[in-house]
Structures are given as C-alpha cells and as structure tokens.
C-alpha cells in the first residue's frame, strides 16, 4: 500500500502506556493509521485492544505517550473531543436510541444544529448520509425495528454525519450473518474509498485477511508487529498473539483423576451454544478456553440452571439429571462462581460472613428460622484463614474488600455449599498477583480433594497451567478437547479462531483475491 509514502497518518499514537492497578494494559504502543486504509488489530483477550480504543476515543487518558492527529499533538480528553477530531467507534452491540427515528438517531450527536429540530432538513441530510453508504432505511421508522446489522449501519451513518476520519470497528461482525457481513464489508470499502482510516478488530481471521490492508498484533499491552496483509499468515499471526510470559504460574500437583462425576452430551441452548459434550472426572480441572463471544459462560449458566439448556443430556454420577434452576444445581452439588463479582456475585453492602453463608443459609438456621450468628461467624473465620481473605473483620461489608479478596469471598461462599462440581468463571480476572496465586493454589487443593472443576478463563497461560484438559469453544460450538500434552497456547488459540477446522471459507478466499486485485 502506501508504506513508505511521505503521507502523514490521520492518527498516530506514539509510545502510549496505560496502567490499571497492577495491570499494565498498554506499554509504549505506537500505531499509525492512514486515510483510506483498513487496519486490522489482532490480539487475544486482554492484549490491550480495548484500552487502545478507549485511548483513541477519549474514554481513558494514557499515562504516557502522545496521540497525534494529522501530525500535530492532540489531546483527547473526552468522548466529545474525539468526536470533534473525527474519531468514532462502533461496537458489536450498537448503541442506538430505540424509540427515536432512524433520522433522529443519525443526528443524535449533533450539537451545532441550533436550538430547534428542523425535521425536513434533518431528513434530507440523513438521506444523503445513508446514500453515501449505499443503504436504504425508512427514515421515519423507529430504530427499534431495525435488525442488528441495520442498527450497525445506522451507527456508521451517525459517524459519517460527523465527518468521521477515523472509524474504529470493534468486533462488528460477531453477531452478523454471512450475508450481512458481505454488506458491511461493502460499506467499509466505501469508507476506505472516501479516505476514512478504519481500525478493524475481529477474531475471525478469514475476515481480517479479506478486508485489511495492514495488520497489527498486540500482546500483553505491547505492539508485536505491524505488517502489510501480504506478509502475514494465519500461523504467523497466531504465533505473535500467543507466547505470553508464563511468569509465576502455579504448577499443578500431578494427580490421577477419579470416577466420572459429570457427563454432558450434546448440550444446547438456542442462540447461545450447541453440541457441547464432555466428561468431567473427580479431581479433574477441565479448562474452557475461547475468545470473547465463544459463549463459554452460557454453558456454565446452563449447568447452573440460570439459563437452562434446551437440549442434550446431563448426568451426575451416571444418573441423568435436569437442571432448571439454581436451586436444582445447588441440590445436585453444582456451584458456579460468576465472572461479574459486583453485579452477580456479592451483596456488596452486606458483611463478609453473610455473603459466605448466603447459598447455604438453611444450614445456619435454628428454631423459628433464627440465624445462628455464631456458627455463621465461625464458618466465615474458617474461610478467612483458609483462603487468606484480607479483611478488617468478617463483619466488614464486602464492598470494603479489594477485588482479589472479594473473589475469595465468592469462592468461600460456593465452597461452603460443599459442591461436587465447581464451575469457576474467570476466577482471576481483575485481581492482583498475590490473590491470583492464592486462587490457583486453591484450585489445585480442591482438585486434589476430589472436586470436579470447570475453569472458564480467558487467560490462556492460566488455562494451560491449571487444566488437565482444555475444551475449546468458538461462537457457541465446541471445537475440540485438548489433552494436557496437546494443550499449548498456540493450539488452543488456533482452535478458538477456527483454524484447525477450516483454513477459511472458499467464498472469503475468492473475495479476498478479487479485492486484492482492486486494491493493488
């Protein structure tokens, strides 16, 4: 493409760093986007893609480094600044106002159109913008009735109406059908023709190779490589993405798993996942790996009865069971720790002790349903000591604890139900290194005691280090189960991106070919 041309990039980041607590989200990342370029950004979960987007859109302020627009240093202090500079982002889930009309949605961000709404003028302008995208939408229709793909188009139109120069597309194709993806790509190409710089983020390799002019890979908050599409292969990209440092990872005590505890066969839930089958043995840790949108959590929620499966069989100790509610799961000895501690895991204003006893409260009730506070406190102290929960008191509200200690309270709460099967959903996300090590040690101990554990984690090194076997999911389907010996980061990631199964659909390949011809 225009490599080496003296053109100034529309937006350029130089040495951008950002730290959240103990996590270095970005470290000296530099990235240049040129007008009329489609630039793909690759990286596994937590590589820093989201933070980079947030820096570009003014949501997050970098600790170090600078952002240049047209070669001049710019400060993007807010979303409004980003809008003024012509930077816009669209996400997997479009952010539209369902009760406003299509035309009103297009101009929702405009602040310079005077005090009153000029309906006719707005309609005409909206029509113009949509025509540029080559799409037709009923302007008076409320946005509520639009399909997801149409809503996305609407978001792009919204960006265009603001004279967008940099358009960030974060997993825009994740929920689209093949046909809708084609239409979206036509729009993206139109944007490129119009000189817009497009930053395209997708976990679908074939899409990246079809549409991108250049590819940048991030890993651990660092830029690993930027190269023209022609110089990148799927294999080389995956190699760049994995290989995260395995620092300080816990090493599992080797153990031989016991009897099969949980048998799952062809489990399915409409629009979420299908064909999930696995055996889980006592004392075994089965990792669930996959990229964002792989629907691993949905499988966990199905087994816990929050969003029950609609098809397939589940057997516990060889006996078929049905799990229609969390109460069913609890009775059967299945526990699930949620990835969202704050919204789903803890009653934040309540004490540590009350949180721990919550799912097993019936055990702490005496005559007349009175809570036996001393028993409850004794249990809480036991878990505080065992899991090293750092809290001023077991009567302190859960919200006073740090993330890692909150996570330990969540773990305690479920361990205290004495489960046979423990489903851990992202148990170490967002917690500090020390707490993380404690959680890993806990998992190892529990497995040695014979608990059957499902470990859903987006942290690849963690999955590899902690699991006996790894089940890889991609977009709601099971891509395979890898034994400990096969479960390398590269193989897991390749499976999670669908690379083991098919090298890319033929239509995508031909499309890429023709486009390549036009582009060169």
């Amino acid at each position: 493409m225009d490599e080496g041309s003296p053109r100034t990039p529309v937006i350029e980041m130089r040495g951008v760093s950002k730290r959240f607590g103990s996590t270095q989200a970005l470290e000296g990342v530099s990235l240049e986007l040129y007008g009329g370029e489609i630039h793909a950004l690759l990286g596994e979960n937590g590589a820093g893609k989201s933070t980079l987007i947030k820096v570009m859109t003014g949501v997050v302020q970098p600790d170090a480094g600078e952002v240049r627009i047209d070669g001049a240093v710019a400060s993007i202090g807010s979303a409004l600044d980003a809008q003024r500079l012509g930077i816009a982002a669209i996400y997997q889930e479009p952010m539209i106002f369902p009760d406003l009309s299509v035309a009103e949605n297009v101009f929702i961000s405009h602040r310079d159109r005077g005090r009153f709404v000029h309906r006719r003028q707005m309609q005409a302008d909206a029509r113009k913008v949509l025509a540029r995208l080559g799409v037709r939408l009923e302007l008076d229709q409320p946005a509520r009735g639009l399909t997801l793909a149409e809503q996305q188009t609407l978001e792009i139109a919204k960006a265009l109406s603001l004279d967008v120069r940099v358009l960030i597309m974060d997993e825009p194709t994740a929920s689209l059908s093949a046909h809708e993806v084609r239409r979206l790509f036509r729009i993206v190409h139109a944007l490129r023709e119009a000189g817009v710089a497009v930053l395209f983020i997708s976990h679908r390799m074939e899409e990246v190779f079809e549409i991108a002019d250049r590819v940048t890979v991030l890993r651990d908050g660092r830029r690993i490589r930027t190269a023209p599409r022609g110089e990148v292969t799927t294999a080389s990209a995956i190699r760049d993405m994995v290989g995260r440092t395995m620092d300080d990872f816990f090493h599992r005590t080797p153990a031989s798993p016991g009897e099969v505890v949980l048998q799952v066969k062809d489990l399915a839930r409409e629009t979420a996942f299908s064909g999930i089958s696995f055996d889980l043995r006592a004392g075994e840790v089965l990792g669930f790996a996959g990229l964002v949108g792989a629907r691993r959590t949905d499988v966990g929620l199905a087994l816990f009865g929050i969003a029950p499966a609609q098809a397939g069989q589940v057997a516990l100790d060889g006996r078929p069971v049905t799990i229609r509610s969390p109460q069913d799961a609890l009775r059967l000895g299945i526990a699930y720790t949620t990835e969202d501690r704050h919204a789903l895991g803890l009653v934040l204003p309540m004490s540590v002790a009350a949180n721990i006893s919550l799912p097993s409260l019936a055990r702490y009730l005496g005559p007349l349903g009175l809570v036996r506070f001393s028993d409850e406190a004794a249990t809480a102290r036991r878990y505080r000591d065992r899991l090293r929960i750092r809290t001023s008191s077991i009567q302190a509200p859960a919200e006073a604890l740090s993330g890692g200690n909150q996570q330990k309270v969540v773990l305690s709460k479920w361990l205290n139900t004495r489960p046979r099967v423990l489903i851990l959903d992202e148990p170490t996300r967002g917690i500090d290194v020390g707490a993380k090590a404690d959680v890993h040690q806990m998992i190892d101990e529990l497995a040695r005691e014979g608990m059957a554990i499902i470990l859903i984690s987006s942290d690849l090194p963690e999955v590899v280090a902690m699991s006996d076997r790894v089940l890889v999911m991609r977009e709601g389907r099971q891509m395979g189960i890898l034994d400990r010996s096969q479960a390398t980061q590269e193989r897991i990631l390749a499976a999670a991106m669908g690379q083991d199964e098919r090298p890319g659909p033929p239509d995508a390949a031909t499309a890429a070919g023709t486009l390549g011809g036009v582009a060169s």
């Binding site: 607590g21 204003p349 409260l361 349903g369 809570v371 809290t391 009567q395 604890l401 740090s402 967002g430």
Partner: protein, 362 residues
C-alpha cells in the same frame, strides 16, 4: 488486618442486617435527636405533654397506620412497593361492615375480611413476583381496584353499629393503659424486628432488595420471597382495616383514603432506602414517633393540616435526598481515587477498612 484476634463473641449478634445498622447509625441517631427536640418543644408549649399516656394516645390514634408500616418496611427493603395497602384496608373494613349488616356474625366477618386481604396480596404477588411486572404499576392498579370494590359494596353509605366487643378491641385498656390492639401492635413490632434482623427470611429480604440478580445467582427463591412480601402486606393491611373499623365504629367508602402515602412516608423517613436493601426496624420505629409527635406539635401550634403535610413532605424529601447526596459524593470521590490507579486494588483500602473496624469494635 489478618492478625485480627478471633472476633469477640459479641459479634454474634451483629449479622448482616446489624452491619447495615452500623452504616445507618448516623441516620438513626439523627432521628433520635429530632425526636427529643420535637418532644421537648411540644412539652414547653403544652403542660403534661411528657405524660406517657400522651404517647400512647398518639399511637392509638394512628394504630391502623403504624401496624401497616411494619409490613411496608419489609416490602420496601425487599426492593418493592405496595401502594394498594390503604385500599385493602378500606376493602377489609367495608367487608366487615356490610357483612355484619347483612347478618353475618362479626367473628366470621372479620375472618372473611382478613381472607380478602390475603387474596388481594396474592393478586399483587402474582403480577409482581410471577409475571414480573413492576410493583409500582401493579399496586397502583390495586389502589384503584380494591378501593373501587370497596365502594361497590358500600356505595355512599356509612355503616356502623358494631358489637361492643369489636369496638372495645381498639378502645378499652386491657393491660395498663394499653388496648388489645395496641398490645397486638407491640407484639407484631417485636416479631417484625426479630423476623427482619435475626431470621433467614429477613436476611433474604435484604439480599433480594439489594440485588435480585445476586440473590438468583446464590440460589435464593426470589419469586417465592417477593410473593411472601405482598401476601404479608395484604394480610396486615386487612388487619389495619379491621382496626380502623373498630376504632372509628363506622365505615365509609372513603375510609383510610390516602393512608398509603403516610405509611410509605414513615418507612422512608425511618431510613429505609426506596431502592431496597437498606433500613432497620429501629429507624422505622423512631420514624413513627417522630412523625406522630411532629404532627401533634404542629396541631398544637394551630397549624392546619395542609401545613402539616407540607412539613412532612419536606422531611421526606430530605430523608431521600440526604443519603443519596452522600452516596453520590462518596461515589465521586472513590471514582477519582480509582482513576489514580486503585482500579484493581491491592490489599484492602485502608481508608475504608479503618472506618469499618472503627464502628465494628464499638
């Protein structure tokens, strides 16, 4: 932190709800101070105000309201609201009156009225807990519907002439200066405080009020709990209806009209969060006394009913506003601290841990 000596046994009586108490201690302290102030003020203008019989008299005149306050506290802490209570009170009172007038024995009429309260509560429970409609809308419909039903029975008449034993329930002192109904209120008050703060049921009310989702993800039967709250509310409201019929000795279609607002006001002013999950029985009790004495004082100062309403409305706004402003300010401070890199945090936040150990050791 971890070196904290094994928590003293005293912590036994400090459950989760008690932990909340520590947080709200300032609000309850405020109420107590306010109460003392109002009582003293009234005492300076009226001699004999401090006579305990005066307080009992105040309670007697509002007994049907304050008994419903107890149930309303559970409903609001559970994250819901029941606007239909006053209409259920009217329905129960009207049923008693018209059944008795039609020849039904009074005892049976009372039982039927209480049963009607249960049914009204079940109806609310079905739409809120099972169907999942907002309680504000469902019980607003109840407010209109049950009142309409009551008016259908009684039309524009006033029915009285109840048997002596029935009116005696609320009028005749049986134990010292206390009537049977006031004794019942005191018993229910203790039951409510124990139920809310010391039982598994009460614990679950707080959990559901704080977060339905956390409750669901913890295996709590949210539907059943919410249903229980509305059935309880309906039943107690019917009991309130029985009491008002007894105390007034006559029932009309407009009986207990507007009481729901007084009842909810008392609960909220007692420090119960309108968003659910927070509040204590102690606060609610204090609030009962503050509001009754305040009203009494305003009446003694010859202020009209409208002025009284205005003053109480102002207090209510303050009671909702002040805790929210504090929470907002605190949230903003924390977010600012969070931006400085405490996002994921290492170790407990010393600032908060200290303040908590400070109150916990007290």
């Amino acid at each position: 932190m971890a070196s904290e000596p094994a928590a003293p046994v005293a912590s036994r009586d400090r459950g989760a709800a008690m932990g909340l108490l520590a947080r709200l201690r300032s609000w309850e302290g405020l109420l107590l101070g306010l109460l003392v102030l109002i009582v003293l003020w009234n005492a300076t203008s009226v001699s004999g105000y401090l006579d305990p019989r005066n307080q009992i008299n105040l309670l007697t005149l509002s007994q049907e309201k304050i008994i419903v306050v107890l149930a309303m506290a559970f409903v609001i802490i559970g994250g819901e609201i029941d606007l239909s209570v006053a209409s259920v009170m009217a329905l129960a009172a009207v049923l008693i009156a018209s059944l008795y007038e039609g020849g039904t024995p009074m005892e049976l009429a009372v039982l039927i009225a209480l049963g009607a309260g249960l049914l009204a509560g079940l109806n609310n429970a079905f739409w809120v807990a099972v169907v999942g409609l907002p309680s504000l809308a469902v019980t607003l419909a109840g407010l209109i519907g049950y009142r309409g039903l009551a008016r259908l029975f009684i039309e524009d008449r006033s029915i009285g002439g109840f048997p002596g034993w029935f009116t005696a329930i609320t009028r005749d002192a049986v134990l010292g200066p206390l009537s049977l109904s006031l004794l019942l209120f005191l018993v229910l008050l203790v039951v409510a405080a124990v139920l809310l703060h010391l039982t598994g049921f009460g614990r679950t009310v707080y959990v559901v009020g704080n977060s339905r989702d956390v409750a669901r993800f913890s295996g709590v039967r949210v539907t059943r709990l919410k249903a229980a709250l509305f059935v309880m509310s309906g039943f107690i409201a019917a009991l309130g209806g029985v009491l008002i019929a007894s105390r007034l000795g006559a029932v009309r279609g407009s009986t207990a009209e507007g009481f729901e607002l007084d009842i909810i006001t008392i609960v909220l002013f007692g420090g119960v969060s309108i968003f659910g999950g927070r509040g204590t029985m102690i606060g609610v009790i204090l609030s009962i006394f503050v509001i009754l004495n305040l009203r009494n004082g305003l009446a003694l100062a010859n202020l009209t009913g409208n002025t009284q309403l205005g003053v109480i409305g102002l207090l209510l706004i303050l009671s909702v506003l002040v805790p929210n402003l504090i929470a907002t300010a605190r949230g903003r401070l924390e977010r600012r601290a969070g931006d400085r890199g405490a996002g994921t945090g290492q170790g407990p936040d010393p600032r908060r841990a200290d303040s908590i150990s400070g109150t916990a050791s007290g």
